[in-house]
Amino acid sequence: MNARIRLAALASLTMLVALIVASTYWQAWAAPDLANKSDNSIQQISEFTIDRGRIFAADGTTLAKNRIVHNSGRTYYFRRYPLGSLTAAAVGYATQTRSRAGLELSANDYLTGADQTLAGAIKQIGDRLLGTTIRGSDVYTSLNLEAQRIATQALGSNCGAAIAIEPSTGRVLALVTKPTYNPNDVEGHYDRILRINSPSCKGSSALLDRATQGLYPPGSAFKVVTAAAALDSGRFTPSSIFHDPGYCIEYGQKVNNYTNPDQLGPEAFGTLSLATGFQNSVNSVFCNIGKALLMPTLMNYARRFGFDQTPSIDLPSNALAISGLYKGTRLLSPREENQYGDPGRTAFGQSLLLVTPLQMAMVAATVANNGKEMQPHLVDRVRRSNGDIVRIKPQMLGQPIKPETAIELTQMMESVVSGGTGTAAAIPGVRVAGKTGTAENGIGQPNTTWFISFAPADAPRVAVAVVLQNQTGTGGTTAAPIAREIMQAILSSAPNSNS
């Protein structure tokens, strides 16, 4: 019988070995995946026992700090946001009941000290064994609080967003969305946030970051992309001559200029150059460019700027929207462009185009930076608990347009502010380049207005995109003054030494 007993023993031991293998799978192999599950309350609660890193503005002002709570023999670190709603869109929140958003989510590895080097990781295991509280890394953002305040004020009770980027580095200097919420309310007073309702934008959430997640028709602001495609492809120059009878013929139908509230000057310009058409936002000129370039060329340039892709920025991907051609809520694939796209109307930013303020700010910043597109980012540097400083280096995303194209576009955009549709953005003594946009949402419906700009045009330090929903005015009268205030706030602050 002993041979049979040996077989039974072998079977028993095999079962127990299988248990060791399965434990290894869950505790070593699958553990990182499980830690990231959104319903993993054990991971989330245990992270509150970590002395979470603080978040600072560029000038060192604290944006997020910890409130220490002792309960059932353990120390918990809960979040406080001393400035309340001012930086809510960028910083987000970290709570027990509603998980995380903003940098609190995307920079969680830094803030919980999980971004460690090998030596740091070994020290952390030691801390865990000894029961020492784990200290996260502090995150220093590029946010300019003065610009943040000015933008918040200037947007007022409007429904809209503003974003400011440093063109040479991609550092995000301001990120504001209105209406916004107080992150301190997320844990205990979520109902307050749900009740926030701006009269100018009914039924939309204060938690939506309109700067990165809001999709709006770009209107004439998209003419910067169209002009970039026209010039960079070599098909047109700023002095290319167009004939404007007050409309453009597309598919045998008239596309009239008078429906464009953005346009300055007479309804029909007659003979004019591309540069004059850009300065006065003449739709027929861009409609004809679109018809000449056709959808693939137009959209290929848009893609070079980042359209059709999740924007590359250090915010959570669930708070980022993709700019591109939409049919309903569905993003069209490049193969569907020709089928549904209307090149004449797309060229002046109507038809199926929907964009985020972030994407439009990246377009302006790319023109400002000689055609080189930098990756926008909020985290400037990280200070580990041992005092080590990790600097986040600026990354170039690509070069969508040639430097010569950027120079020509800059001149055309300067003419918009010096004597075109965007004169309200002019700053005395500073050369400002910009482009207005006034997108229609249907006859008799309020407009979505835009202004994208950068300054100083000869040595750019800031690129801005401002969007406002439900406006009766134009981009030039509503958004341009807000962009001007934000640019002024940034230009008047000292240039950041560590960039």
Binding site: A8, S23, W26, A28, L34, D39, R74, G131
Partner: protein, 434 residues
């Protein structure tokens, strides 16, 4: 060094480990519990000293490693139960006292020759059946988490199936030992008892709604049948019959079906109707598989080294628990979080060593009945461990049986101490004959 002296030396080592465990729980949670917790370790050690002395008198030559390993497993379990809820630990401590008493009584009663049990085999068979079906009785039977495994009389609540398992092993060993030659012939009419027992296992399954118990009983039966007859064919046919029967129960019993679905797909991305919440739409991990998924998170949270005893996360900061039934069915996931892979692997190795020693005794002892009892008890121990931990680790569908020596629960502790006494008695017989 004699076997018993060796046992004492290892027991002292186990006592030190238990003291360390209680001390680390005390250090981690000292603003909640008093230093009196350390007296648990002392009390515990005294208890095992008594068990050791009874062993010295009754089974002087028996295996010296089994009792210390059982002590270590109960010590680890008690420490974790204490860490989760000190009141429960007091009760569990009392059950360990009763368990050690059962251990002593078994050793003393059967010290001359346990083989006389063989002649009472039908008594054991009947009591096994009675114990198995007790929870199915209308008044006293009681369901927990859909599995009808409990009997509740007044304030007392126990799982009679735990003792039924041991009675059944004794019956099967005796019965199959006497019918060994006949069955080995493999005549068709001899399959009668096999079919009868298969029917019983299925009835247990239907009555208790618990796939785990049915699997355990039928697995033990097949193992002893194979050991007695040497026919792997029986195991094959039996397994096939069991699968057919299980498939039938799966079709007819919603609880069993739900357990299998949870096992296969614990996470859903879509919200689906939740049967326990009146069809409310929610993801499965928030509904039916809540417990399994939270337990997996607990295990994963432990990682390699664990959080340390007393430092795991089992409740939200306001004190509400995160995982239901932590101290009974899910004690393993609590231990996995606090001891980590290192601790869990060590624990599983101790369980493996226990099984190895058990089978070693079965190899050494010279008569068929003793071999069958010993191998049957050991195999049952291993299979039970596999079924409960395998369920928690999602190797098989989750069921509601207990983890030997470690889980909170009186019937389980008492039954396992009697099992330990049985193994020592067989071991004494094997060693004194040489």
């Amino acid at each position: 060094m004699s076997a018993r002296t060796r046992e004492l030396a290892i027991l002292i080592l186990v006592g030190l480990i238990t003291v360390t465990g209680f001390a680390s729980v005390y250090i981690a949670r000292q603003n909640e519990i008093s230093a009196g917790s350390l007296s648990y370790a002392g009390f515990f050690f005294a208890l095992y000293l008594i068990a050791h002395l009874v062993g010295r008198l009754t089974v002087p030559d028996a295996d010296p490693y089994l009792l210390p390993m059982a002590a270590l497993l109960t010590g680890v379990g008690l420490t974790e139960i204490y860490r989760l809820n000190p009141t429960d630990a007091l009760r569990q401590g009392l059950w360990v006292v009763i368990g050690v008493a059962g251990f002593a009584v078994t050793l003393i009663a059967l010290r001359h020759d346990f083989r006389r049990l063989e002649s009472y085999k039908y008594l054991f068979g009947l009591s096994a059946l009675a114990l198995l079906f007790l929870p199915a009785l209308p008044k006293i039977g009681h369901s927990i988490n859909g599995a009808r495994l409990w009997v509740r009389v007044g304030p007392l609540q126990f799982q009679p199936g735990e003792l039924g398992k041991i009675a059944m092993i004794v019956f099967l060993a005796a019965y199959l030992h006497s019918k060994q030659e006949v069955l080995a012939l493999g005549r068709l009419k001899d399959f009668g008892p096999l079919l009868a027992i298969w029917g019983c296992a299925m009835l247990v399954l239907v009555a208790t709604h618990d796939l785990g118990s049915a699997l355990l009983f039928f697995g033990i039966f097949l193992a002893i049948l194979y050991l007695a007859t040497s026919r792997l064919l029986y195991v094959g046919v039996g397994t096939a019959l069991f699968l057919v029967g299980s498939a039938g129960v799966y079709e007819t019993t919603a609880h069993v079906r739900s357990r299998v679905i949870i096992w296969l797909h614990p996470w859903t991305t879509q919200a689906i109707p939740c049967p326990t919440r009146g069809g409310q739409l929610m993801q499965r991990q928030e509904c039916e598989s809540f417990q399994l998924v939270k337990s997996l998170y607990s295990i994963a949270q432990g990682g390699f080294t664990g959080t340390g005893l007393g430092k795991g996360t089992f409740s939200v900061p306001n004190g509400n628990t995160l995982i239901p039934d932590l101290k009974t069915d899910f004690i393993f996931s609590a231990l996995a979080q606090e001891l980590g892979l290192v601790g869990i692997a060590a624990l599983l190795l101790v369980l493996m060593l226990f099984v190895v020693r058990g089978f070693r005794i079965a190899l050494l002892v010279d008569d068929g009945f003793s071999k069958l009892v010993c191998a049957g008890l050991t195999f049952g121990f291993a299979l039970q461990t596999f079924i409960i931990i395998g369920g928690i680790l999602r190797l098989i569908p989750l069921t509601g049986i207990t983890l030997p020596f470690i889980s909170y629960g009186g019937s389980s502790v008492v039954a396992n101490f009697i099992l330990l006494a049985g193994l020592l008695l067989v071991s004494q017989r094997a060693n004194e004959a040489r």
